[in-house]
Amino acid sequence: MTPSLRRLWDHYRSASPVTIALLALVLGLVVGAVIIVATTPAILDAWRGAVHSWTGPGHALKVTFDNVGAAYRSIFTGSIVDPPQFWHSVTTGQNWTASLTPLSETFTYATPLVIASIAVGITFQTGLFNIGANGQAILGGVAGVAVATLVHLPMALHLPLTLLAGIAGGVVGGAIPGLLKAYTGAHEVIVTLMFNYVASYFMLFCLLSTPLQLPNQTNAISRTMPGGTQLAPLFGTASGLRVNYGIVVALAVTVFALWLLNRSSIGFEFRVTGANPHAARASGINARRTLVTSFLISGGLAGLAGVTWVAGTTHYIDQNFLQGSAGIGFTAITVSLLGRNRPIGIVWGSLLFAALEVGGSNMQANTGIPYDLATVIQSAIVIFVATPVLVKEIFRLRALRAESVKVATAGWGL
């Protein structure tokens, strides 16, 4: 091989984080395929037939590949693009809505996920665990809906104020565990984890009380946000595509996080504290202030994620808001891990998770394989990302260490 090709090959073989993440995706899909095989009666029957008759494994293999292929194809076409449909739109100029809906849905779902995951990532970088992003997002959503439905203002003020209210709601949710840890030593994992319940029940209380509850209702449901406070669909309401200006908010948050973590002094102090709290203290970094600031920023962003979701898609909240599998604040923890707590990594991780989420629904509709398979694939990916050693073993990757060993031994007078 020529030297440059060799270097490219070495680079691929070396276990860079990006390589690991991509290979983890591959392994996650393999795990998903194994589960499809093990749980789909048609495939199992085909193999039983292969054993008991003389048809050989060819037919069984074909059934296997057909089924797995169909499942993954529908995840792809449901979340990114359906090529024939797309080609049809390109040639005839018709039905663009149908062609773009998969991508639109993926981006719609990824929008609040990016924001919430960055919120979690910031505390991770500070060496803190914010398991309460979901509760903070709920508070953000409630505060946003309250300001949107109860205050009357011109739109130019009303939308920004709604988003600010969301941030404020999240800040309150972040301040409580932050201050408790800083001044009493209460462990933030316990406090934030339990705070999710506080936030959920506080939301229920609000949704069942005037003035937030939709009048003349007994259900826990809020009024609908007026049009001026909604994040409008990106391509207009007539397009039928749900993707909305929340994307702009998510982009702004990403840029902010890039500045915060890579360029700001406070972010530097976050990272020093996260990487080595002893050195942080000895270097004159105020641990208490760093901790509280990190939680305030994280909570504020989580609140923004909540209000972005409401203002962009549902426009009202009910008792199911961010509950159960819709709890993006929990998904955010895994996405942040997947993206190694870095903004750009988180954006890619969010898009992947959103695509699996959206594509999973499509798979269930088309093939009958339960949507939960998408969750299994997500979980498997996270497990593989969290165990790079395993991935390196499976793919026989060369460790990145050779380089650092060389530097480490370049000692004195050599």
């Binding site: 500045w259 360029r263 700001s264 002094s265 406070i266 530097f268 102090e269 990272r271 020093v272 990487a275 080595n276 002893h278 050195a279 203290r281 000895a282 270097s283 004159g284 970094i285 105020n286 060369r398 260490r401 050779a402 380089e403 650092s404 060993v405 060389k406 530097v407 480490a408 031994t409 370049a410 000692g411 004195w412 007078g413 050599l414």
Partner: protein
């Protein structure tokens, strides 16, 4: 046991850590492997202990070729290893630690502690390794913990002991005790492979010294070789072992401690009324056996530990119980005792570590936004002027050798506006070349007219570097003496007894 290594070669990627190493350890011999940090000593030991596999070469035990694919193989072949960082369970007793993994049992799988205790006592008696089998390991001083490791290795019937920098963590007295133990072990026919970079003790205890540099054997010499010869072999050039310095010209006091009382984590007053003055243009060296309050004293000065009573003044300003930030900004440079814990962030770049305690200062940041170009420029100029060996200022600090990591701290602290410098164990774990360098820099700081306080448990360093030597014992200063005072007298002060004619 006779151990022979023939042509051992171990490569990591493009780096050759061991290059065709030949080595023979005769029965009953203390064979020292001398080399700088990063010379390949540890790699070779890991190969020998089965933790790494050599790419080429062979290992012969008593003339028989062996393959060691894991540490269990090595233990079965009679090789024992005492790691630099002990592999003990702190909350277990000595007996439990020794039998761990090879527990003697009675019927019904009950542990046979009586036998474990008896085994330990017999090993202790045989080799003079006194230790209480029922003490929990965490309650023992470091020197005794090391004994437990040695007993553990002997308990597995080791015929060859590998000691990896065993004295790095010991007080001078503990080190002496260890040497005696090593002699009694070899007297009974066991062989010892002893890894070190401390020239004095190496010459003191070894039968043969093999020097390796950059993965190659440079040569084997008898212990009669001079320290300068050995140092030159290690480093590959002449090194000066004495600290070159002129007479101090002390001026006004800069760092003033008055009746300082500081409590440790258990609430005991480990610094108990210390008063000390460090003047501009002098080096005061604080001597003492580790654990006599030096660590806490430095923490109190740097704002990391609460001062119970008394005061700390820096250049006339009271900095008692001020936050560390204020104390750093008041002009106190600090080279911490545990540099990887308190002084550096290993995962961050060299450049970031160079501004670790000044990230908000112009030009490194303006209105909350860091100026990464200024940070890099700053780091590049420091790397240049302090001769830090790194592939780039963007390389993570963990990729640097120990000596170069210390240089990063030295560079960072000395490049700030300073009034006084406090350096704790500034050369601990460093190789000869780095020690020489750090000493030179400390003297330079003094000559620029700053006050310097050195805390060190190495008596050689204290005597060579200090213009005045303060000795600390059980939280008090037992005497401040001239560095020309005899080592015996300083040693007496270190144990709390005042020799005749000294305050």
């Amino acid at each position: 046991m006779r151990l022979e290594l023939r042509g051992i070669t171990k490569k990591f990627g493009s780096l050759t850590a061991n290059d065709r190493i030949d080595l023979v350890v005769e029965p009953g011999q203390i064979h020292c492997l001398l080399g700088e940090n990063g010379a390949g000593k540890s790699t070779l030991m890991n190969v020998l202990f089965g933790l790494l596999q050599a790419d080429e070469g062979e290992i012969l035990i008593d003339g028989e070729k062996v393959r060691l694919t894991n540490s269990g193989d090595a233990v079965r072949r009679g090789i024992g290893m005492v790691h630099q960082h002990f592999m003990l369970v702190p909350v277990f007793t000595v007996a439990e630690n020794v039998v761990l993994g090879f527990e003697p049992t009675r019927s019904l799988d009950r542990l046979d502690y009586a036998r474990a205790r008896e085994d330990i006592r017999s090993v202790s008696r045989q080799f003079g390794l006194e230790v209480d089998p029922d003490a929990t390991v965490e309650s023992l001083p470091i020197g005794l913990q090391q004994r437990v490791e040695i007993i553990k290795a002997l308990g597995h019937d080791a015929q060859l002991l590998i000691l990896d920098e065993p004295t790095a963590v010991l007080t001078p007295q503990e080190a002496d005790a260890l040497m005696a133990i090593m002699r009694s072990l070899t007297a009974s026919g066991k062989s010892i492979l002893f890894i070190s970079h401390k020239l004095k003790e190496v010459r003191h205890v070894s039968d043969v010294i093999t020097v390796i540099r950059a993965g190659r054997v440079i040569g084997s010499v008898p212990p009669t070789a001079s320290e300068n010869e050995l140092a030159a072999m290690m480093v590959g050039r002449e090194v000066s072992l004495v600290v070159d310095k002129t007479e101090a010209a002390p001026r006004e006091p800069v760092l003033e401690l008055r009746d300082l009382v500081v409590r440790d984590d258990r609430g005991l007053p480990v610094v108990d009324g210390v008063s000390l003055e460090v003047r501009a243009g002098e080096i005061v060296a604080l001597a003492g056996v580790q654990g006599n309050g030096q660590t806490e004293l430095v923490e109190a000065i740097t704002g990391l530990r609460h001062v119970e009573s008394g005061s700390v003044r820096l250049a006339g300003r009271d900095i008692t119980n001020r936050p560390p930030r204020d104390i750093l900004d008041a002009g106190l440079g600090h080279i911490p005792e545990d540099r990887q814990r308190d002084g550096l962030v290993l995962s961050m770049s060299v450049a970031d570590n160079m501004v670790l305690n000044t990230p908000r200062r112009t030009p490194f940041a303006r209105r909350g936004t860091r100026n990464l170009r200024a940070v890099r420029d700053h780091a590049e100029s420091l790397v240049e002027s302090f001769d830090v060996r790194t592939s780039s200022v963007d390389a993570p600090l963990s990729s640097l050798s120990g000596g170069n990591q210390q240089k990063v701290i030295v560079a960072r602290e000395l490049s700030r506006p300073l009034e006084a410098l406090v350096a704790s164990q500034p050369t601990r774990g460093l190789d000869v070349g780095s020690i020489e360098y750090v000493h030179r820099e400390i003297v330079r700081v003094r000559d620029e007219g700053h006050a310097v306080l050195i805390v060190s448990s190495e008596l050689d360093e204290v005597m060579a570097l200090g213009d005045r030597v303060a000795v600390m014992f059980q939280g008090r200063i037992t005497g401040v003496v001239d560095p020309s005072t005899s080592r015996e007298d300083v040693g007496l002060l270190m144990t709390g007894s005042a020799p005749a004619g000294i305050a």
